[in-house]
Amino acid sequence: MMTTLDRSFHQASAPFRYPPPIETELDRLADLFARLPGLADAYPPRWLAIQALEGDEALMHAIRSLGGSAAVAALDESLERLRAVYGDDLDVALVDQRYRFVHTVATQAVRRLSTAPVTLSDRIDRVVTHRWLGIPIFLAVMWVVFKLTTDVAAPFVDWLDGVLSGPVSRWVVALLALFGAEDGWVASLMVDGVVAGVGGVLAFVPVLLALYFALALLEDSGYMARAAFVMDRLMRALGLHGKSFLPMIVGFGCSVPAIYATRTLDSRRDRILTGLLVPFMSCSARLPVYVLIAMVFFPAHAGQVIFGLYLTGITVAVGMGALLRHTLFRHQPQAPFVLELPPYRMPTLRSIWRQMWERTSSFIRKAGTIILATSIVVWLLLAVPVGGEGRFAETPVDQSAFAAVANGVTPVFAPLGFGRWETSGALVTGLIAKEVVVGTLAQAYGSTEGEIAPPDEPATLTNDLTGIVGGFGAAVGDALRALPGIIGINLVEAEEEPIAEGLASAIRAGFMESSGGQGALAALAFLVFVLLYTPCVAALAANRHEFGASWMLVSLLGQFAIAWLAAFIVFQGGLVLR
C-alpha cells in the first residue's frame, strides 16, 4: 500500500500533460504570456493559458487589459485551431483530461469493489429524501427540535430564573452592604439594572443550548444538506432553490452568519433575495421573548404557540419571496441548482459540544457587553424623573425619562393592542438585540414590584446553595419527564408558572390594560410583531455590508411595515372574531 501511494505521489508531482494538440497551444501561449511583463508578473503563464482556453471570463478580461492586442490575437488563433479538433467541447475536454489523470492516480492507490455498491447513506436517503415522505419527515424533525427547546429546556429556565432573582440578587445586596451601599442608587443599579436586565436574558441560556444542540446534530449528521435537497421544491415558490435553504436554516440560529452564508449562492439575485428573506426565519435571540410571553399567557400551549410563530415566519417569507420575485427581481434569471451531499455520519459528542459552546458563549459575551450596556442605559432612563415629585433612582417608573421617551412611540402600537410604554420601550431597545426585549420588559415591569424574591427559609449562604443545587436536580427530573412529551405522551402537568410570579402578573396586567381586556390576543399580536419587525442592528450592518445601503433600507422599513400589518391583522381580526 505504502509503495503504491509513494509511486502515485511521485507521478502526481510530475507535471501532468494534456493531449498533444492542446499542449502545443499551451506552450505557445505560455511562452508569449511569459514575455509580456504585465501578465507574467500577475499570473503563472501556463496556468493562465489553461484558464484562457477554458474561457474564464475574468481572466480573458485580464489578458485583454494587461497583455494587449498581441495576447488576444494569439489566444484567438489558438482557440481557432483547437476548435477544428474538439468542436465546441474544448473546455469539457480539458476538464475531462484532469479527471482522467485523477482517475489513473486513484486506481493505482485505491482498491475498490468492481461496481459501486448502494451505500447505507443511499438507503437512508431513499426514505429521507423520498418525494412524498421528505417534507413530512423534515417537519417532524423540526417539531422535535422545538419541543426540545421549549418543554425540555423550560425547567432549567425556571431554575436559573429563580437563582438569579433570588439568591444572586440577595448576594449582590449583601456584597454591597460590606461597603455600606446596600440602599440607594448603587444597589438599585445593580439589582434593577444589571441583574434584572442581564439576568433576565441569561436565564434563557438553557433554551439556546438546546437549540444549538439540535442544530449541531443536524449539521454534523449530514441531514442539513438533505433538508436543502428536499426543500428545493418549496423554495422554488420563493423564486429560489434548495441551496438558499441553508442560509435560511442558519437564520434560525442568527441572521448575521446567515446573511454572510448567502455568499455560497451563485448569482447576485439569489444572494440579495435570500438575504432579504433570512430575517423572517425566527432567530434564536427572539426565542427568549416567545418563551417569556408564551409562558405568561399560554402556559399550557407554549410549545404550539412558539412552533406556530416559526411557521408564520416561514409562511411570510414564502409570500414575500413570491412578491419580490414578480416585482423587483422579475427580469433576473436563476442559477441552476447544484449541491454536494456529504455521506451521513455519526456526530461526535466533542464536535457537537464545541459548536454548542461556541454559539452559546458568543451569546453570553453579548449579554456581558451590549445587553449590559443597554440595561444600564434603560436603568438610567428609568431612574431619571421627568414629571412629578420623584428623585433620582426613586422616581415612579411611569414618570421616568424612559416612560417619557417610550410614550413618544406608543401611539404607533395602540391599534395593535400593546400601546403601553413598557412594551414600546422594549421594542425600541430590541433593535439593539432582540434578547434585550426580555431584559427591558423585566426592568420596566419588574420595577413595579421592586422586590427581591423572598427566600423560603432564612437566607443563609448554605441554604441558598442547597436550594440552588436541589432546584437543579428537580429541573433535571422535570426535563426528563418532559422528554416523552416530545412525541405527544404527557407525563407532567403543565407548569403553572415558570416565570417569576410578580413579573408575570405585572406583564399580564399591562397587556390587559392596553388591549381593553383582550390580554392574550394582544400578547399574540406582540409575538407576531417581534417575529417580523426590523432586524437588529448587527443584522442590518451585515445586510449593508453584503448588499449595500439601499437594500438595507428595504429590509429595515419593509419589515417594520410587514410586522405592523401582521400584528394589526392578528389583533383587530381577533377582536372581530370574538
Binding site: 477554458e54 474561457g55 465546441d88 467541447d89 473546455d91 469539457v92 476538464v95 475531462d96 479527471y99 482522467r100 461496481t115 459501486a116 448502494v118 447513506s121 443511499d122 436517503d125 431513499r126 429524501t129 423520498h130 418525494r131 421528505g134 444538506a225 436543502a228 435537497f229 428536499v230 428545493d232 421544491r233 422554488r236 432553490h241 434548495g242 441552476p336 441548482f337 447544484v338 449541491l339 454536494e340 451531499l341 456529504p342 455521506p343
Partner: protein
C-alpha cells in the same frame, strides 16, 4: 456518439445504472457539470427524486441537481438495477 438508446438522466428511473454519453445545453452548463465530475464515460445512477431535483451518485460523490441540469445530461442505460 449518440446511439438510439440515449436519453436524458431525468427519465432514467431510480437505482438504474447508466453511463454519461454527452451534455446538451449551453457551453457554460457543460463546463460546470464537467468540473463537478460529469465527464463523458463516467458511470452514474439516480439515488432519489425530490420532485424538483435529482440526487445523483457519481463515484463516491452524491450531488443534488435541479431538473434543468438533469435534463442536460444524456446517458445510456447500462442495466436495470433494483429500484
Amino acid at each position: 456518439m449518440h446511439s438510439h438508446n440515449t436519453l436524458p438522466l431525468m427519465f432514467v428511473g431510480q437505482g438504474v445504472r447508466a453511463r454519461l454519453v454527452g451534455i446538451s445545453g449551453s457551453q457554460r452548463t457543460a463546463h460546470r457539470l464537467a468540473e463537478l465530475g460529469f465527464v463523458p464515460g463516467v458511470e452514474l445512477s439516480v439515488v432519489a427524486d425530490s420532485g424538483s431535483a435529482l440526487m445523483v451518485a457519481v463515484g463516491d460523490t452524491r450531488l443534488a441537481l435541479g431538473y434543468p441540469l438533469a435534463q442536460a445530461l444524456l446517458v445510456a442505460v447500462l442495466e436495470k438495477g433494483a429500484s
